[in-house]
């Protein structure tokens, strides 16, 4: 006779919380969030000014990204991010000025101005190169985690991030299946902002929570408030520790929201209501965390104002410095196809 599947050994559990964060760390988290938002806005602004043809923003993801970046151990961990992760990359050590090299497609961009803005890479910081092909990087992250395990580098993990839309791709499934099977040292962070361009989560999957999918891969699924940097830090740090302990991967779903249009090429008013956006805006993680810091006496209003000013100064300086840099040259089109010279050009 038919029966239901047996309960899974890795059924979802709530993670231990309340990692102690020092005041310094809390301030660093906030600065990271402010920086992300300021850089974001600058991108859209430059686009409106006609200075750059394209930018993508991540307003609403600041808490997830700042906190994940703080959990990331520089010099050890590897990051396999996606295109909405400029804040995460910066929080992991990617220099602000280089974000602007990418925005302006300058020769100094690590990718030589070849990719769209936001497609960052910096091997020296452990930040992987990824393409625009959604979910294409998922298996790379898993392969990198395999390499860490293979070489017995037991103090390192891979952090791999993606949107909820990306979970529909077959490669997403293949990556999680392999990672679960080999209990690899990897933390999957889904930045669930409820939209994939104009496609809401309800048209993307039949389930309410991405995290429920984890059970099918023999790993733990965790849902976390993606507007709460401390909760995200808790979740990622816990998952990281478990991965280091040989406990295998975790799928963290950080529920957040995409406040802006998909990119500067998009107009979200065509497919979602202002009311919906506003309803999430009241939980905006940046003012919310600011409020928390003030309330808990971590920062004074003066501290906050000074920090905002400093962030703006940094962003202004980077904007100007990057804009002054030259484009790559036409001849740069032909380099780095393979090592050495590729084929003779016509």
């Amino acid at each position: 006779m038919a029966k239901a599947p047996s309960a899974h050994p890795h059924a979802p559990v709530a993670v231990a919380s309340h990692h102690e964060l020092s005041k310094e760390q809390l301030r660093a988290l906030f600065r990271s969030m402010l920086l992300q938002r300021t850089v974001d806005n600058r991108g859209f602004q430059l686009n409106r000014q006609g200075k750059i043809p394209f930018a993508a923003g991540s307003e609403g993801h600041e808490a997830v990204q700042a906190a994940t970046g703080m959990a990331f151990q520089r010099g050890k961990d590897l990051l396999y991010p996606y295109y909405r992760d400029v804040g995460l990359c910066m929080a992991c050590g990617f220099p602000t000025i280089e974000v602007f090299y990418s925005l302006f497609a300058r020769a100094k961009d690590n990718g030589g101005g070849r990719q769209f803005p936001s497609h960052l890479t910096k091997r020296a910081a452990g930040i992987s190169s990824f393409s625009s092909i959604i979910a294409g990087h998922m298996t790379h992250a898993v392969g990198a985690a395999y390499a860490l395990k293979y070489r017995n580098e037991r103090d390192r993990v891979v952090i791999c991030s993606f949107g909820e839309g990306s979970t529909s791709e077959g490669e997403w499934h293949e990556a999680l299946n392999f990672a679960g099977l080999h209990r690899l040292p990897i933390v999957f962070v889904c930045e669930n902002n409820k939209w994939a361009i104009s496609t809401p989560q309800e048209k993307q999957m039949a389930v309410q929570d991405v995290a429920i999918k984890a059970a099918g891969y023999g790993m733990q699924g965790i849902i976390v408030d993606g507007f709460d940097p401390i909760a995200v830090y808790d979740a990622v740090t816990t998952a990281r520790a478990q991965a280091l302990d040989g406990g295998g991967p975790t799928l963290i779903e950080a529920k957040c929201y995409r406040f802006l249009s998909h990119t500067t090429d998009d107009d979200d008013r065509t497919y979602r209501s202002k009311a919906e956006v506003e309803s999430h805006r009241k939980d905006d993680p940046v003012p919310r965390f600011e409020h928390w810091l003030l309330e808990h006496g971590v920062m004074s209003a003066g501290d906050v104002a000074a920090m905002k000013k400093d962030v703006l100064r940094e962003v202004n300086e980077c904007t100007d410095a990057a804009e002054a840099e030259p484009y790559p040259q036409a001849s740069d089109l032909y380099t780095n196809v393979v090592e050495g010279a590729w084929e003779p050009w016509q």
Partner: protein, 334 residues
Amino acid sequence: MAVTSATTVMNNVEAVRATLYEALKNDPRTLIMGEDVGPRGNVFLITKGFLDEFGPQRVLDTPLAEASIVGIAIGMAMEGLRPIAEIQFADFIYPAFNQIVGEAAKTRYRSNGDYTCPLVIRTPYGGGVRGSLSHSISIEALFYHVPGLKIVAPSTPADMKGLLNAAIDDPDPVLYLEHKKTYRLIKGEVPAGHYVVPIGKAAIRREGHQLTVVSYGLNAHQALEAANQLEADDGTKVEVIDLRSIRPMDKQTILESVRKTRKLLIIHEDNKFGGVGAEISALVAEEALFDLDAPIGRLCGPDVPAMGYALPLEEEFMISTERMKQRMREMVQF
């Protein structure tokens, strides 16, 4: 093309849009599926408003999964529907390769005709729009080697409509390529009503006897412009063929033209090595070699993975009308 009295001036986006609209209107078996084709009306607004008129069953926002967009469309086609699937950008068609090459193109063959797969896959391709490495590529040469798959790349609004109708009417899978730089750039008269431009027929855009130029997509317009300038400059007469269909390929039109002009230049934006120009050249080298008065020329995108985002990289990759003119002149003078 059927002669109809009423025509309207449209750009390429409008022509595709109008054709899709008529298809949905006229045949209940047709439906449109792809990422963001619903309320957003596709990223180029091609299907804007369709959802309201035809409903979510026929204007289907899919999950973000290209293999399933094509695979599900195949299943629909096998069971009698006429799906028109969209891949949002040609650069994202790779995950659907198995379904297109391994499944759609072989359905009729492997079942010896028991099942067929009347499916259209539309996708915008090509550069010159600051699309960077990942929203600029040409994909025709990745597919044109595949028996059982038809590929069209119309360049004018009238052909956009006529070939899209032909693709939708076709009982076999057709890959329909839209050069995104031509979307709003190219305008022209489009006949009213249903008509088809037959798949497999090239168009001679301009007659000439000193050189045959074969091109398609955006480059076909530039080649025509370059040839016009050459004639204005010094009376040089270049024949320009717009291939329109990449497979089946119109060998006859190409061979007849080359036998007349005795010189052939192929122009395409896609990388040169193994590109569509390779087969055109090989065809002529096989069937009309002794009619040639000059080596067969190919003016193509360079053999790098893609154009870069930075302006100088894109400009270096794309073929300018000036370069075409220069190369045409060289070949005429050869």
